[in-house]
C-alpha cells in the first residue's frame, strides 16, 4: 500500500511496455480484438524507442518477419488473438525447428473459428502441445495479473534467448483488456545470455545457416533428439506455479490465468459460508512445462480436486496426467466468450459436496 508511482495500464499495454524494457528490437503484428491495445502501444512506443514496428499485411507475414528478425539476432515479438494465432502456427513450428528465439503473445478469445471477442482459455491444447506440425514444444507462460503480464513478458525474452526457442505468453481478453495500477518489476531470476554467434551476419570465420530443413539420412532425427534434450532440460528447470494450501482445505481448485483470480474470490466466498478455509488453490504459471509433480504434492491432503477453466476441459487433461486416480477430479468450465460466475461455481461445489 505504501508503494508510490503505480501506473494504471492494461495487460496488453503492460506486455508492450515489457517488450520495450526487455530490448525488443522488432515487432510485427496484425490487428485483432482483444489484443489491439498491444499493437497500438507498440506502434507508438517502438518508433519512439528507435526500434522497428511493422503492421504486417497478415498474421502469416508478421510471424515470418519475426522469423527473419530473430534469425538476424534481434529480439523479436509478434502478438495476436486466437484465430490469428492459428494462422501463425506454421511460423511457430519453423521457429522451433530453426531454434530461433521469439516471443508470441496470445490474448485468447472465444472460438472455434472466428468465434467472438469475449475471453476464453480454449487455446490451451494449441499452446502447450506445439500447435504446429512436428515434435516441438514452446514454453508457455500464463500471467494472472497486469503486473505479471509485464514480468512474464520480460522473462519470456530471456527464456527465448537462453534456450533458443519460441516462448508463448498465453493471456486472454480479461488479462489483456483489464487495467490495474502496477509497479514494473523485472523478473527476479537472471539468465546469462551469451552473444548470438549463431545469428546471420555474425559468423566468425565460418558460415551461419538458419534452417529447419534437414534432408540427409538421419540428420533430422539427430536434430530432433537435440531438441528433445532441450525440452527435457526446460521441463527440469522452468516449472513455475503458485499455491495457497490452508491446513483445513478439503478442496483444491486448479486454475490458471484469469480463472486463478476467480478462484480466489470463490475461496473467500466459501470461507464466509463455511466459516473455515476449506478451499486451497493451485495455479500453474508455466503451462508448459506443466507442474505435474508440484500439483500431485499439493493434492496430498485434500479430498477433492476441481479444475476451473474457460474451456470445456483442456488443462483438465494435464491435471489428470498429474494425479491419475489419486483423487476425484471435478470440472467446471464455460467457454464461447462467457466467464464463469462466482455464484454458480460455489453452487456447483456445494451441490457436489466438494467441501
Amino acid at each position: 500500500m505504501k508503494e508510490q508511482n503505480k501506473v494504471f495500464i492494461t495487460g496488453n499495454e503492460a506486455v508492450g511496455k515489457a517488450a520495450i524494457d526487455a530490448g525488443c528490437q522488432f515487432y510485427a503484428g496484425y490487428p485483432i480484438t482483444p489484443q489491439n491495445e498491444l499493437t497500438a502501444y507498440m506502434s507508438r512506443q517502438m518508433r519512439k524507442a528507435g526500434r522497428v514496428f511493422i503492421q504486417a499485411e497478415s498474421e502469416l507475414a508478421a510471424v515470418n518477419m519475426v522469423f527473419g528478425a530473430a534469425a538476424a539476432g534481434a529480439r523479436a515479438m509478434t502478438s495476436s488473438s486466437s484465430p490469428g494465432i492459428s494462422l501463425k502456427q506454421e511460423g511457430i513450428s519453423y521457429l522451433a525447428g530453426a531454434e530461433l528465439p521469439a516471443v508470441i503473445v496470445n490474448a485468447q478469445r472465444g472460438g472455434p473459428g472466428l468465434g467472438n471477442i469475449g475471453p476464453s482459455q480454449s487455446d490451451y491444447f494449441q499452446a502447450t502441445r506445439g500447435g504446429g506440425h512436428g515434435d516441438y514444444r514452446t514454453i508457455v507462460l500464463a500471467p494472472t495479473s497486469v503486473e505479471e503480464a509485464y514480468t512474464f513478458t520480460c522473462l519470456a525474452f530471456d527464456l527465448a534467448d537462453f534456450y533458443r526457442t519460441p516462448v508463448v505468453i498465453l493471456s486472454d481478453a480479461i488479462i489483456g483488456q483489464m487495467a490495474e495500477g502496477i509497479v514494473f518489476r523485472p523478473p527476479s531470476r537472471k539468465y546469462s545470455l551469451p552473444p548470438k554467434d549463431w545469428a546471420l551476419g555474425r559468423a566468425k570465420g565460418q558460415q551461419n545457416i538458419i534452417r529447419s530443413l534437414y534432408l540427409g539420412e538421419r540428420v533430422l532425427e539427430k536434430h530432433n533428439l537435440k531438441l528433445q534434450r532441450k525440452y527435457r532440460l526446460i521441463e527440469r528447470k522452468e516449472v513455475r506455479f503458485r499455491q495457497h494450501l490452508p491446513r483445513e482445505a478439503s478442496l483444491l481448485i486448479v486454475a490458471y490465468g484469469s480463472m486463478y483470480r476467480l478462484a480466489k474470490d470463490i475461496a473467500v466466498e466459501l470461507e464466509g459460508k463455511k466459516n473455515k478455509k476449506s478451499v486451497g488453490i493451485f495455479c500453474p504459471l508455466s503451462l508448459w512445462p506443466f507442474p505435474y509433480k508440484a500439483l500431485a504434492q499439493a493434492c496430498a491432503r485434500v479430498k477433492n480436486v476441481l479444475v476451473l477453466e474457460m474451456s470445456y476441459g483442456q488443462m483438465l487433461e494435464d491435471v489428470k496426467l498429474a494425479l491419475g486416480r489419486q483423487k476425484p477430479i471435478y470440472f467446471f468450465g464455460r467457454a464461447g466468450g462467457e466467464v464463469p460466475e462466482v455464484d454458480e461455481v460455489c453452487r456447483f461445489i456445494l451441490k457436489h459436496k466438494l467441501i
Binding site: 500500500m1 508510490q4 471477442i117 480479461i174 483488456q177 483489464m178 495500477g181 474470490d265 462466482v342
Partner: protein, 174 residues
C-alpha cells in the same frame, strides 16, 4: 473498504472514460483498483460497459456479481444489469434514455443526465455530470483527488479539462 461499480451504456457516451477515471482516482489515493471493459468490435453506437473495483485490499477477480453502484446510461443496459442488483445497491439512471418504475425497492437516482449535459452545451460530458452526482452520494475519494484525476486524464487536451470540471460541479448540484 471495497466498492464495486458497473457502468453501462452506448459506445461514445463516455462509459469507459468514466470507469477509468474512477479507477485512477482510487489508485491516486493508494487504493487497489481494477478496470474491466467489455464492448463490441465497434467504437460508437454499440453497447459498452465496464466493471470497476476500488478496494483497500488486493482485488481478486475484476468481475462483479452484484454491484454496489450501477450506473446506466440507456434502456438496454438497465434491462441487462437490473437482475444483478442487490438490496443495498445504488443506481444512477440516465432518465433521458431509460425509464424505470418508481415502485422499485432499490435506491435509484434518476436524472436526465443527457439533457442536463446538452443544456450546458457539452453532451459528451454527461459522464462527468454523473460522476459529480455519484460523488455527492458516495465520497469514495477526496474531491481534490477527483479533480486532479480528471485534469490528468484529459491532459492532452487542456481545452476540455475545464468543461469536464464544470460538468463535475454541475453534477454535484443535481
Amino acid at each position: 473498504m471495497k466498492l464495486e461499480f458497473i457502468i453501462a451504456g452506448f459506445g461514445g457516451q463516455g462509459i469507459l472514460s468514466l470507469g477509468k477515471i474512477i479507477a485512477r482516482a482510487g489508485i491516486k489515493e493508494n487504493k487497489f483498483a481494477s478496470f474491466m471493459p467489455s464492448y463490441g468490435a465497434e467504437m460508437r453506437g454499440g453497447t459498452a460497459n465496464c466493471k470497476v473495483i476500488i478496494s483497500s485490499q488486493e482485488i481478486a477477480s475484476p468481475y462483479i456479481n452484484h454491484p454496489d453502484v450501477l450506473i446506466v446510461f440507456n434502456q438496454p443496459s438497465w434491462d441487462k444489469f437490473r437482475p444483478k442488483l442487490k438490496r443495498q445497491s445504488l443506481v444512477l439512471l440516465n432518465s433521458s434514455l431509460a425509464g424505470f418504475s418508481p415502485s422499485y425497492r432499490i435506491k435509484v437516482i434518476a436524472c436526465p443526465f443527457t439533457r442536463v449535459a446538452r443544456e450546458l452545451g457539452m453532451e459528451k460530458a454527461a459522464n462527468m455530470i454523473v460522476l459529480g452526482r455519484l460523488w455527492r452520494e458516495i465520497k469514495f475519494v477526496k474531491e481534490l483527488t477527483l479533480k486532479e484525476t480528471i485534469e490528468e486524464y484529459f491532459s492532452s487536451r487542456r481545452d476540455i479539462v475545464s468543461k469536464n470540471l464544470e460538468a463535475l460541479a454541475r453534477g454535484k448540484e443535481l
